[in-house]
Point group: C2
Chain length 359, copies 2
DNA sequence: TTTAGCACTCGAAAAGTCAGAGTGCTAAAG
DNA sequence: CTTTAGCACTCTGACTTTTCGAGTGCTAAA
């Protein structure tokens, strides 16, 4: 089904006006906004048509028009201007991200903050579950009862734990343990760590005190938490500024959904590095998101690890600006984290992928 | 100024009823609730008295009475029943806390979750800024371009960083660096790390490549972030269920305040380990909290580190239950973290400290 | 000092009113 | 066949009015 250029122009005007004002938009406004040289009456005819085709709807007879999910989809796919960030904006982002490449977790959470800040929507930030393994294993002997376990993972994060024991051991034991663990526990995924493996390690180092179990426990724990990835949600308060969430009930439902990070674990599967994905209203699977939209961008977070950053807002979301911003942040992060030579952040150039079922 | 027993009984009834219903409470309800054998008219007289003394107020002539901050204060200080937790509740808390003593940060954030979950209010959880210093310093050599810095701090947390450098160095350099840093950088606070110290270290190890600067940078960064402590706020969504926040504007203001964790840094100074502090409405210094209440409990988080857990809610807060719950959580955490033999969690036994300016 | 009785007050909710923005339709004009 | 002006109609949101009832304070009697 083809849509005339004029209809598209009108649709775009409706979407953009509605994004701005959150009020149903009428024919006169459109005439003005879209700069069309035809009368409101003509536009009304076109509007009626767009309504019957499912791109717009009326809250009630004799109100202005409001875009449907289908309308937004068309807008996002074809009609949307690709927005460029202002230099100011890029600078804010750069400054706040590059300044603190300190620690991965911190950086991820900062990225979420940043996204929320520049878009004024709640943001979610996470890394996804590429199963990690141990690249290198070290023990640091502190005193006869204390040592530190240091794990270097394949994704280049370092995890550690301080262990106090109720009995003492010799420093030489540390060396032996290191050797054995480096030999047996590196390069394997969590599920490969069995009791058998632990027992055989115990024999190998002559451990009668359960040291191996303690260490193996930490290893398992680390690998499994890395796998489950940490999701951070920031800026939920932004929701409350939006007219669509003036009903506390609605706001509460969404915020509750977001605050349970386990709900968010499906998100990573939806994107590929480098593109921005937009999910509009009912395109979301989760019931709680059916009348909200989600914009996601993923980035390369170091070897074989994927990062994800996204925002959640009403379907009336400024897709073009949000997409541009997320895309930029994601690209910056890729550059910062992904050793693997991702192209530099395109200045506004971005690919939008979405559900292409266009009626 | 003395208050008769009957007045106290009435005040208590008003507070508790109001806590439950959020509606101004009238004389008849009180008669019923407090089980007094006098007529509503008598109670009305008493109410008028309590009003004039400033413990209660009327939203408007001819509505029921509502407690003032002063009324809540009296209630919290003298009238409140000390609530015991149900076994079920203690079990929930125990299970969820002890299960994952894995990592300090994680535990702290979990504790916040827990507090928010059992109280149904937003919770804040943080450790406070006892200035930390380095207890021990280690470097792990990975390959000619890569090493890991491992810091053991006086509060027994371990921080690390993986460093990639664009040039290569020898393993022996690591040993020398370790020695120098262990000698010069342990036991000193952040502000003692000067350029002079760094330069002299560089000379000592023969570092012409800026290695010392990189490492010192991380040390400074670590010490200063530890000092600023991480605060986590959880369960903000709970606010929206409360009638006092049905106005999104109000909810937004408070949530915004809470989401800026730097606002929360004054809290730790308000409590001492082992007691629970209640700040009611205008007793709070921050403007944004003037019509909310805060309940804080602090705990011993390992040597010379203090943890803090608290919740924020409307002045109409179930102080007795909240205090009991926080106290229990705090005690559990003290037990889990504080090596220093804190007494076991008292089962409901708790001390409430508060602003004792009682009119 | 307590209590019953009563007039009074005030707010919240329900009902009613009104203006205006926007529509669809019809019929004329291009 | 498309566009446009005109017009009657619809519906909402804002505003006002009405009503109802819970709760009060006061007075006078117990």
């Amino acid at each position: 089904m083809q849509i005339s250029d004029r209809k598209k122009k009108i649709l775009r005007a409706v979407v953009e006006e509605y994004i701005e004002t959150a009020e149903p938009v009428g024919s006169k406004t459109i005439q003005y906004k879209a700069g069309l040289d035809c009368s409101p009456a003509t536009i009304r005819n076109e509007l009626a048509d767009l309504c019957s085709k499912g791109y717009l709807e009326q809250p009630h007879t004799s109100a202005g028009r409001v875009p449907t999910a289908k309308g937004y989809r068309l807008y996002v796919n074809e009609l949307m201007h690709q927005q460029k960030l202002s230099i100011e904006e890029t600078e804010t982002i750069n400054a706040s991200l590059s300044a603190k490449a300190e620690e991965l977790d911190q950086l991820i959470s900062d990225a979420g903050h940043m996204a929320s800040l520049v878009t004024n929507y709640p943001a979610v930030s996470m890394t996804s579950q590429t199963p990690a393994t141990i690249k290198r294993f070290d023990l640091i002997y502190i005193d006869p009862n204390t040592f530190i376990i240091v794990l270097l993972l394949t994704n280049d994060t370092v995890k550690n734990k301080l262990v106090h024991l109720p009995f003492s051991f010799e420093e030489s034991m540390m060396t032996r343990l290191s050797a054995v663990f480096n030999a047996s526990f590196t390069g394997i995924t969590e599920d490969k760590i069995t009791q058998i493996l632990i027992s055989s390690s115990e024999r190998a180092v002559g451990d009668t005190m359960g040291l191996c179990s303690v260490i193996a426990g930490f290893v398992i724990e680390t690998l499994s938490t890395v796998k489950s990835g940490g999701a951070v949600v920031t800026g939920e308060a932004n929701l409350l500024k939006l007219p669509e969430f003036k009903d506390p009930e609605k706001a509460h439902r969404l915020m509750n959904y977001l605050s349970d990070t386990s709900n968010l674990s499906i998100l990573p599967s939806l994107t590929q590095e480098g593109d921005v994905k937009v999910l509009i209203g009912p395109e979301n699977v989760a019931e709680e998101l059916k009348d909200s939209s989600v914009v996601l961008a993923s980035y390369n977070a170091g070897d074989n690890m994927k990062g994800l950053i996204g925002v959640v807002g009403p379907t009336r979301m400024d897709y073009s600006s949000v997409a541009a911003k997320l895309s930029y942040i994601a690209a910056s992060l890729s550059k910062l984290l992904g050793g693997g030579g991702t192209p530099p952040p395109g200045f506004g150039k971005l690919m939008i992928k979405g559900d292409d079922s266009d009626g």
